[in-house]
């Protein structure tokens, strides 16, 4: 899509034109849905977060001043909304963490250098406990530092580091299990 076309869409959204809003939705909904899926437990929750993301985008698009990447701006809104959703569900997340820690002790660590599809990887990330998942996404995929993550989530830097380490271990186990199933099939 051309820069001029994108600018027109943004200006239309600023004016509240439905046509421009629809075009923006068609263009970026898949990308933002992928981000929401990474931070949530299932597709239903991701759909809810995606709706909130677009509401925020339409309501705040007048604050975008064309001084940076528009896609980056959208991604940041999606990440922030997902973090808000994570904080909202923090009580339930703690219960998940305890359950999964018990599970981790029982399974052997297997790590292999194999190719995985995005769907498989997404499935494994979604199965991570909420705390691990959020830290892992922020550090590995969004590229934030531990200090930034600790500020964003309101946790200690060491907690962020330990959660990343555990997330990596957990994910490697999950991926190893998938590769085992693949090899059998």
């Amino acid at each position: 899509m051309l820069m001029e076309e994108m600018k027109e869409i943004i200006e239309g959204c600023v004016k509240g034109q439905k046509r421009s809003q629809d075009m923006l939705y068609k263009k970026f909904s898949s990308l933002l849905f992928g981000i929401c899926l990474r931070y949530t437990k299932n597709r239903m929750e991701a759909q809810d977060v995606l709706q909130d993301v677009f509401v925020k985008i339409y309501n705040n698009i007048h604050t975008y001043h064309h001084d940076g990447s528009f896609e980056g701006w959208l991604r940041r809104i999606a990440v922030n909304t997902s973090i808000t959703n994570y904080r909202r569900n923090l009580k339930h997340a703690y219960q998940d963490d305890v359950d999964d820690l018990v599970r981790m002790k029982d399974e052997p660590l297997v790590a292999e250098d194999l190719e995985y599809t995005a769907e498989e990887m997404m499935q494994c990330i979604q199965n991570l406990p909420s705390g691990y998942k959020t830290v892992f996404n922020l550090y590995v995929i969004e590229g934030f530092m531990h200090k930034e993550i600790s500020d964003m989530l309101g946790i200690d830097v060491n907690t962020s580091k330990s959660q990343l380490s555990r997330a990596k271990t957990y994910l490697q186990r999950e991926l190893a299990a998938i590769s085992k199933i693949k090899s059998i099939a």
Binding site: S30, Q51, V55, I125, K168
Partner: protein, 212 residues
Amino acid sequence: MMSDERFFNQVKATMAGYSPEVPEVVYGAMRRKLWWSNFTRLSATRLNVWYLALALGAGVAGAAHFFGSSAHAERPGNYGGDQNWAVSVANTANQTQHSSNEAASSSSTCASSCSASKSCSEAGHASAKSTGGSSSGHSSQAAESSTATETMTAGEYQTETTEAIAQVENNESQEQTSENPTVSNETTSLSGKKKLKVSVFKNRNQETTEKK
């Protein structure tokens, strides 16, 4: 076992182009959320929940004022609560009484109603004074008072009117036995202010009659 850095890069590369299909229902739900968000947002330029709340509040306040005032007006025997209501009732009673040919009885009843409501139109007194008249015709006076009572539908006012009639009758009986009615009125055991007002009107009526 692969290193952390390598593993993270692999995950990042795999997830980089991931853009799953979004179900159709999400769009409809998003539009509804957007509408609600705009509706509840504080904005002066569009119809929103705050305008509706203001309109509803004004409507409720108006209805409460209307029904509250009408209910208050229908409440019987309330002198102290609404002074204007008492004044209007007294004026109604005065108009009914002053239209009668029995001027003296009218003036005495007016005085009693004035003492009840502590206010009365000066026109009522003036007409009573100018027409003057004798103190006869107690039956018509009672009829006049009952007319006023019917207009008001107020139990307490009826009691007061009856009491005033009794005072007037008492005064007149004393007037017949005494040459100086004012003095006799002042020495009677009936309570002060209303009785004095009635006696003052009696004296004025007598003076008017003498002048004539």
